[in-house]
């Protein structure tokens, strides 16, 4: 049984770590471009941060509610095209284009409403399939509508920045977005809203019977998730300077988000962050090493299978569980805080039923 350590020093130590850990990480991320200033390094960094934001956003919806979405590329691509079309039609260039980012977020959030109203009415694993179908619809629209530029897409407006530091503003903007997203994820998890989401994940019907307005809660989570994903998409578009249907709406993107979430720990705050930081640069590096892009596709699939077969709860929860067991073993005392020793137990036949995830 996982009883949290009840000694004050234990609690204090863990609280300190919980604050220090992310603070150190944030400081490291902020200093990263100053130490590794080459465009290659900052590109890796930018990509990783975009995925930290996107994976955390995905987790806010899919991780907390248990409704696995394989269609978040819809929101990402919507953000891409929102900025692309806005810049093209309103003739924006240079710094002004960044002003379109809130638009990208807003459009993605708006799109999430009808998507959610249709998709969230079905049970969870039909839901996954519906998200895939909706993804195909959007990709099809991007290929066929004239205002999206069809197959050739839309070229990005000109940005005349110095080549050596070109990446840096993008990097820092991505860092801000990623940090805000992770903070939001943490806040949600502690909030009543987050509790309702997790109750839905465990037993949606029962949650309804306890007064949770399931549709509203799920839809709200989807809209928040979509908003951030769209924002990330918009920024990413301007960075790589191209909007094409197959890159804006890419099924591998969807798989990557799910993989990062599962790898790090589905439904945790830090899990998607860990997943993104480890997996995105690795994937980029593999694509460069094996210029044959198909091998990285195969490896991504294999890695995903390995994760769900051998590490289904993800790295962070597995580590936390190991740490908990080690802690319980090392402080086993007759009158210890580990209540398995008995005490005022109601049941003589109490048996721990194994830890849940």
């Amino acid at each position: 049984m996982t009883t949290p350590a009840t000694t004050t020093t234990g609690r204090g130590r863990r609280a300190a770590l919980a604050v220090a850990g992310p603070a150190v990480l944030l400081a490291a991320a902020a200093l990263f471009p100053l130490v590794f200033s080459s465009p290659l390094a900052t590109t890796y960094g930018f990509d990783a941060l975009i995925f930290v934001a996107a994976a955390s956003a995905w987790n806010i919806f899919s991780g907390y509610s248990g409704y696995l979405s394989l269609g978040h590329a819809v929101f990402f691509g919507t953000g891409v095209y929102a900025v692309a079309i806005g810049a093209r039609d309103w003739h924006l260039t240079g710094d002004a284009v960044f002003g379109l980012l809130p638009l990208a977020a807003a459009v993605a959030a708006v799109v999430a409403v009808p998507v959610g109203l249709v998709a969230l009415r079905v049970r969870r694993h039909t839901f996954v399939v519906i998200t895939i179908a909706i993804f195909f619809i959007f990709q099809l629209m991007a290929f066929n509508f004239s205002f999206t530029g069809g197959t050739s897409g839309i070229d990005a407006p000109i940005l005349n920045w110095a080549a050596a530091t070109y990446n840096d503003p993008f990097y820092f903007l991505a860092l801000v977005i990623a940090t805000a997203t992770v903070a939001l994820s943490w806040l949600i998890r502690r909030s009543r809203f987050g509790l309702q989401l997790r109750a839905i994940r465990d037993d949606e019907d029962r949650a309804r019977g306890l007064g949770v307005h399931a549709m509203r809660v799920k839809l709200a989570a989807l809209v928040i998730s979509a908003l951030i994903t769209g924002l990330a998409g918009g920024l990413w578009y301007y960075f790589i300077a191209a909007a094409h249907p197959q890159s804006a709406f890419d099924p591998l993107f969807d798989l990557s988000l799910a993989l990062m979430g599962f790898f790090g720990g589905l439904g945790t705050v830090g899990g998607p962050v860990l997943g993104a930081i480890i997996l995105e640069p690795s994937q980029q590096w593999l694509t460069v090493q094996f210029t044959n892009d198909y091998l990285s596709e195969i490896l991504l699939g294999v890695l995903f299978l390995l994760v769900i077969l051998f590490l289904p709860r993800g790295v962070l929860p597995t580590l936390a569980e190991r740490a908990g067991r080690w802690r319980a073993r090392s402080r086993r005392r007759p009158d210890g805080p580990d209540a398995a020793a008995g005490g005022a137990a109601v049941q003589p036949d109490r048996q721990p039923e194994g830890t849940a995830s």
Binding site: R121, V128, A133, F136, N292, I298, I308
Partner: protein, 293 residues
């Protein structure tokens, strides 16, 4: 315009038969294992490439080649189930299985690109360059042969399900896996074999698709799976009759719409899907989902 509709409808029905075969495999897997094999689309393409290799490199006739490709795909299905699906445990196993199938699809697509490259290939058989004339328009022989193949294969599956002991075990498991286990049915074996059968039909489907689609490449998997998913959801998950009806209906509608607008024809699928789901989330013929999540 009228004289374009009849051939379109004919094409649609014949093509629908082929999709029906693939959809039946998919719905069978769902009925027994409760998972939606999203790799079915790319596996059809794998089947197509197998036929291609046999036909082009070994000069084996397309239809005869099925004697090799069908068992091969059956074994592949068994392997996927045993290695990837079966080990999954826990409360989330249906969602995880679905993700696993997605991963398998990505791997298969990558492998096909690696081996065959992105070029479009076609399947041809020498005796099918002819067409017959029906009611004033031409239907290629190959369409008829493939339709016949699809009908034969669905008939075989039907016989398997309703006239054999194994089929009874499958149907029992579809209705209630726990009850089936309690009366001595080896549910794992049934699951594995069903998955194998569901994938084996992709061999036939792949050959038929390759011969009638005018060319395919590893990228074709997406078109296929998007249509198949829409078909089985429309027909109702787990309903074989529904899958058949939805397949023939939707492909025919797409074929007719294709006369006016080739780019948007496939959008008809999605529009129908969205409309049906909004009105009746369990699909046209589906069972009302009573299991909790």
């Amino acid at each position: 315009m009228a004289h374009q509709i009849y051939p379109a409808i004919a094409d649609g029905i014949l093509g629908g038969g082929v999709y029906a075969l693939m959809a039946v495999g998919l719905t069978l897997i769902f009925g027994v294992l409760d998972i939606i094999n999203v790799a079915q689309g790319i596996l059809v393409v794998v089947g197509g490439y197998l036929s291609y290799v046999l036909s082009v490199h070994l000069h084996i006739d397309l239809f005869l080649g099925l004697l090799i490709t069908v068992p091969a795909m059956f074994v592949l299905g068994l392997a996927i189930h045993t290695l990837v699906i079966r080990p999954l445990r826990g409360a989330e196993r249906t969602s995880m299985s679905l993700l696993a199938c997605f991963a398998v699809a990505i791997i298969a697509e990558g492998a096909l690109y690696w081996i065959f490259g992105p070029n479009v290939v076609t399947l041809t058989a020498s005796y099918v360059r002819s067409s017959i004339k029906v009611a004033g328009f031409y239907i290629s022989d190959i369409y008829l042969y493939c339709f016949a193949l699809a009908v034969a294969a669905v008939a075989v599956i039907y016989l398997l399900l309703y006239r054999t002991r194994f089929g009874r075990a499958v149907r029992a498991t579809m209705q209630d896996a726990t009850a089936a286990r309690l009366i001595g049915i080896d549910v794992n074996r049934v699951a594995a074999l069903t998955f194998g059968i569901g994938v084996a039909v992709t061999a036939a489907g792949g050959m038929a698709y390759g011969a009638t689609s005018g060319g395919f490449s590893p990228n074709s998997g997406y078109d296929l799976i998007s249509r198949l998913l829409a078909i089985i959801i429309l027909g109702g998950l787990g309903s074989i009759g529904g899958a058949l009806a939805a397949a023939v209906f939707m492909i025919t509608v797409e074929s007719v719409v294709d006369i006016w607008s080739p780019n948007w024809a496939v959008a008809v699928f999605y529009a129908a899907l969205v409309i049906v789901l909004t009105v009746r989330p369990s699909g046209l013929f589906g069972r009302r989902e009573v299991r909790a999540q």
